[in-house]
Structures are given as structure tokens and as C-alpha cells.
């Protein structure tokens, strides 16, 4: 993901990524959780959906899903969360299956993508390898939001998802994001999916989805 090698084992690089859909007056935001293996992506999702820590969890193969309806600034927003596998090799496969809206989001340029960087496992403070300062500087340089989270204690987990949702809504309010325009992008997205699926050799590796 171009995150460099500065990451320590305890630092989840969970990227929550969205695109907007306008579904009958209510908003449907799609979030994608990506990051290295064992950084706690599924646990973040589980904490957010179930409000508890997932103790004995298998590792994710392919994609797992979660959804939750939240209220942000008086608006009802449905979050649809795609939780991906961590192994690099696998990730490419996942991206391809997400091609429909990934390519779409990419063609609609980076202001439409809201990314939050989560430094997870905040509870393992003794094993910390990246300081808060380092990580927040990194986030600033790359124009990302940033939070330190703990899927174990639940600290900042809800906040991370809501912060993302709030930012998207603010962008819609300020006109930076236009759901109508995004809506028209859906059809375009389907067309680009068909294009992408056919010339396989040209798209063997899914492009880096994050705009930074």
C-alpha cells in the first residue's frame, strides 16, 4: 500500500475506504478494511458490529462482511464493510473482486476517497514500535485521518468508523462530494468491471487502490 516498511508488528494499518451510494434518500457508504496480516482488521470490524472483542478468530480468507446502520449528524447512514484477507498475494485477488467500485472510485479522483489510518492494538503499549507522533506525521503527510485504536478494549473503534462517515457527509454537505454524480458513476462502474474482467493479462495485478 505504499506504507513503507516503518510499520511494527503491532501497528495495524487498517484503511477504511468508502464510496458513496444514494439509496432511496438514505446513504449507503462502502468501507474497505485493508492492512497486513494479523493487524486486527477482522477484530476491528467485529468490535464495531458486535461491540465485543473476537477472542478465537480464524484468519480471513477472501472477504468477510459486516454492516451497521449509524446515525451521523441526524442522518441515517448504512455502512457496508468489506473486511479483507491480509496476505499480500491474496489482497490482489480481493481488489479484483472489488473492481466494480474500486475502479469507479479511482476514476472519480482522490477527493472522493476518504481514508483513515488506524494504528490498532493500542492496548499493547509496551510493545509499541511506532510512536504516536511518527504515525500522525505520516498521516498528515499523506492527507489521511488518523486514530489509534484497540479492537480489544474498543477504544476509538466506533470513532474511527464514525469519523469516516462524518467526513464523507461533510463533503457531501459542502458540495465536495456529489452523491448524484456518484450515482451516475455506478453504471459507469459496472461497465468498467466488464472491461476489467476481460483483458486479464493487462490487469493481472490490481492497481493500488489508495490515492496516495
Amino acid at each position: 500500500m505504499g506504507w513503507g516498511d516503518a510499520e511494527g508488528m503491532l501497528w495495524t494499518r487498517g484503511l477504511l475506504w468508502e464510496r458513496v451510494w444514494n439509496a432511496v434518500g438514505n446513504f449507503l457508504f462502502k468501507f474497505l478494511v485493508i492492512g497486513s496480516a494479523g493487524t486486527g482488521k477482522s477484530c476491528l470490524l467485529h468490535q464495531f458490529i458486535e461491540n465485543k472483542f473476537k477472542q478465537d478468530s480464524n484468519h480471513t480468507i477472501g472477504v468477510e462482511f459486516g454492516s451497521r446502520v449509524v446515525n451521523v449528524g441526524g442522518k441515517t447512514v448504512k455502512l457496508q464493510i468489506w473486511d479483507t484477507a491480509g496476505q499480500e498475494r491474496f489482497r490482489r485477488e480481493t481488489y479484483n473482486s472489488l473492481a466494480a467500485w474500486l475502479t469507479d472510485a479511482r476514476t472519480l479522483a482522490s477527493p472522493n476517497i476518504v481514508v483513515i489510518l488506524c494504528g490498532n492494538k493500542k492496548d499493547l503499549d509496551l510493545e509499541r514500535e511506532v510512536t504516536f507522533l511518527e504515525a500522525s506525521r505520516f498521516a498528515q503527510e499523506n492527507e489521511l485521518m488518523f486514530l489509534e485504536t484497540s479492537a480489544l478494549t474498543g477504544e476509538n473503534v466506533e470513532e474511527a468508523f464514525l469519523k469516516c462517515a462524518r467526513t464523507i457527509l461533510n463533503k457531501i454537505d459542502s458540495g465536495e462530494l456529489d452523491p448524484e454524480r456518484m450515482g451516475s458513476g455506478i453504471q459507469y462502474g459496472d461497465a468498467s468491471l466488464r472491461q476489467l474482467r476481460q483483458p486479464r493479462s493487462a490487469q493481472a495485478v490490481a492497481p493500488q487502490p489508495c490515492g496516495c
Binding site: D56, H59, G62, F90, R92
Partner: protein, 413 residues
């Protein structure tokens, strides 16, 4: 029966409380006893009428309790008989497998009778043996080869744990960093493989076996390496075979075309498999197929997990083993047939769901999935489309995609 035991216990040191109700032939378990207690001395005694009423109520409760116990006993007896019958049939099946089928494997394994018995599920005690035979050993892997690969893997672990990182010539192209990442990932994933069984994790009885098989495989096939999903397959094999035999079955299983396509993450080929699956999906379940299409629900969303782990992560383990039984016999086709069986079993509810609910449902199947119903559903899946079998459909699609790749550069100009 429990109740009679208790009630019939004659000699108990009488406590003050028991004195009160020692004339009763029932030892109450709960506070129902309280209604028979005389009131504490500092309160007025119960009127005779009330005492009588309480006694009556109490006796009714006792009658009800007796009824419940009797019913429960009958249920347990029935359950026991059921289990005995099952055990007997398993016992018979074990005898048949051991005495008739296994000694005459070559001639018998594809007979009608064996196929029927096979479909019922292979008894756990012979399962490993049958799997080994059915998977075969095309790669001619010997126990010695396993030992060599394992020794090399151990050398590597030692090397990385002591911080050394000399690169061996033979592995040129697979950087030390890659290998280290792979070894780290194996360690991480073992702790996350059937964690609820508590046998593969650090300190568990099968931890070292799982570690050995995955490590040896990365030495045996450095070009494939460790890919997530493998640990589940190795774990299921370990539950049924000795380490070396599990390794042999593991390597041969992964060497099958479908598994190789997936574990090498050969994108084009995976898409071909998904396309072939969709041919049979549409053929068998046209309504559901249309519903999935409408909702943009592509098969990769659920098939990746199912195929990579051979259902061992998504189905209850005993049921997954039954799928493996037939998969070992029928090959990759059965994996896709099982997928269609699952979709068919849940067709009604899936048709009522939207994208996210279908995706959630299929990536997290119900835990109490009924084995017999699933197999009945799988049995009704037709693996023939316009007179073409699975392999023929797949080959045709593969040819198409190869031609398209060849043709695409000119098309682009």
C-alpha cells in the same frame, strides 16, 4: 430414575429442616420447598387451610416433575438407541471398509456399492487411509523426502530466529525477506487455525505437526510458498493422518489443477473456474442466478473462502470432512457441486436477501447446518450443462480465455 435414587436413600443424618418434611418422599431441588416450611417462629403460623393448599400445590408440582423426568428419560433412551444404531452402522461400515474394500482397493473403489457407502460418509477410523488412497501420490513423495524438507525448514527457522540470513543459491529469486515473511505468517496463521479446537495452537498437541507440514511444504515448493488457507487444509489432514502421510496427501492435493490455480493465485484461471461455476449455477438455479446477477453478487465473494479452505473453515468440521470424502473421490467438480448444493439448500431465503445480506450469509454459514439435508441437496445438483460435463465446460472456457488473451493485443490497436 435419578429421582428414585435420591428419594430411596434411607439413612441421612436428620437436619432440622429435613425433620420438617421428612415424611415426604421427595427431596425438592429448588425453593418450592419453602412453601412447605413452617413460618419462622416470630411470625404467626400458617392457618390449616393455607397449609393444606400449599401441600396440594406442592404435590401437583411433584407430579409434574415426575412426568417431566419420565419424558426426559424416554427421550434419552430414544437418543441412546439412535446413537447405538448409528454406532452399529458405523461399526458395520468400518468392517466393510477394512475387510472388503481396502484390501481390494483397485478393483472395488469405483463400484456402485462402494460409491454408495462412500456418499454416506467414511467412518473416521478409516477416513485417513481412504483419503490417502483416493488422493494418490502422483508426486511420488516418500517419507524420506518429507524428512529432508522438514530438516531444511527447521534449519531455516533456526537461522531466522538467530538473526542469520544467508541466501542459498537454489532459492535464488525468493528473497530472504520473502521467506522470513512467509515463516512469520505461518506462525501467525497457525495460532488462527481452528482456534476453538485448542489443539493447533502453541502448546497444543498438534501445533508442531501443523508447523512442520507447512514449513516442509514451503521448502518442497518454494515457488508456491505458504498461502493463507493452506493451514486449514493441513490441519484437517493432520486430524486424520500421521505427519508424513498428511504431508504427502497435502502436497498431492495442492498439486491438483484447481488447487494449484487458486494457491498460485492465477487470476485468469480462477476467473475461468468461476465462469464454469456460473454455467452450472444458471443451469441449476436460474432464479437465484438472476437474483445474484441483479445484486452484483459475483461468485468470488463466497467461492474464494470455500475453495481455498475446501470448506473446512465455513462448514462444521464433521460436515466438511464428509465433503472432503466425496471431493477426494470426485475431484474439483465436487467442490463446485457442493457450492451449488449450499445455494440450493438456502435458495428461498437467499432470494429474499439483498447484496450485503447474501454476502454475509454465505461468508458465515449457519453453524447448525444439517448434514443430511445438505447432502440431499447436493445430490439433486445436475453437473451437466447442455450435455457437457464440468471438465468439458471448463476446458472450453479455458480455450476461450486463451484465445481472447492472444487476440486482445490486436483488438486493442
Amino acid at each position: 430414575m435419578e429421582y428414585e435414587d435420591k428419594a430411596g436413600r434411607p439413612s441421612r443424618p436428620p437436619s432440622p429442616k429435613q425433620n420438617v418434611r421428612k415424611h415426604l418422599d421427595f427431596e425438592p431441588l429448588s425453593t418450592t420447598a419453602l412453601i412447605l416450611e413452617d413460618r419462622p417462629a416470630n411470625l404467626p403460623a400458617k392457618p390449616a387451610e393455607e397449609a393444606q393448599k400449599h401441600r396440594q400445590q406442592y404435590e401437583e408440582m411433584v407430579v409434574q416433575a415426575k412426568k417431566r423426568e419420565l419424558k426426559e428419560a424416554q427421550r434419552r433412551k430414544k437418543q441412546l438407541e439412535e446413537r447405538c444404531r448409528l454406532e452399529e452402522s458405523i461399526g458395520n461400515a468400518v468392517l466393510t471398509w477394512n475387510n472388503e474394500i481396502l484390501p481390494n482397493w483397485e478393483t472395488m473403489w469405483c463400484s456402485r456399492k462402494v460409491r454408495d457407502l462412500w456418499w454416506q460418509g467414511i467412518p473416521p477410523s478409516v477416513r485417513g487411509k481412504v483419503w490417502s488412497l483416493a488422493i494418490g501420490n502422483e508426486l511420488n513423495i516418500t517419507h524420506e523426502l518429507f524428512d529432508i524438507c522438514l530438516a531444511r525448514a527447521k534449519e531455516r527457522w533456526r537461522c531466522f530466529s538467530t538473526g542469520g540470513s544467508e541466501v542459498e543459491n537454489e532459492d535464488a529469486g525468493f528473497s530472504a525477506a520473502d521467506r522470513e515473511a512467509s515463516l512469520e505468517l505461518i506462525k501467525l496463521d497457525i495460532s488462527r487455525t481452528f482456534p476453538n479446537l485448542c489443539i493447533f495452537q502453541q502448546g497444543g498437541p498438534y501445533h508442531d505437526m501443523l508447523h512442520s507440514i507447512l514449513g516442509a511444504y514451503t521448502c518442497y515448493r518454494p515457488d508456491v510458498g505458504y498461502v493463507q488457507g493452506m493451514s486449514f487444509i493441513a490441519a484437517v489432514l493432520i486430524l486424520n493422518l500421521d505427519t508424513a502421510d498428511a504431508f504427502i496427501a497435502f502436497s498431492n492435493l495442492l498439486n491438483k489443477p484447481c488447487q494449484m490455480a487458486f494457491f498460485r493465485v492465477d487470476h485468469g484461471l480462477m476467473l475461468t473456474y468461476f465462469a464454469a461455476f456460473e454455467v452450472f449455477f444458471e443451469e441449476n438455479l436460474p432464479k437465484l442466478f438472476a437474483h445474484f446477477k441483479k445484486n452484483n453478487l459475483t461468485p468470488d465473494i463466497y467461492l474464494i473462502d470455500w475453495i481455498f479452505t475446501l470448506y473446512s473453515k465455513s462448514l462444521p468440521l464433521d460436515l466438511a470432512c464428509r465433503v472432503w470424502d466425496v471431493f477426494c473421490r470426485d475431484g474439483e467438480e465436487f467442490l463446485f457441486r457442493t457450492a451449488l448444493g449450499l445455494l440450493k439448500l438456502f435458495e428461498d431465503i437467499l432470494t429474499k436477501m439483498d447484496f450485503i445480506h447474501i454476502a454475509q450469509f454465505l461468508t458465515r454459514l449457519p453453524e447448525d447446518l444439517p448434514a443430511e439435508e445438505l447432502f440431499a441437496s447436493i445430490a439433486t445438483v445436475q453437473m451437466q450443462s447442455r450435455n457437457k460435463k464440468w471438465a468439458q465446460v471448463l476446458t472450453a472456457l479455458q480455450k476461450d480465455s486463451r484465445e481472447m488473451e492472444k487476440g486482445s493485443p490486436s483488438l486493442r490497436h
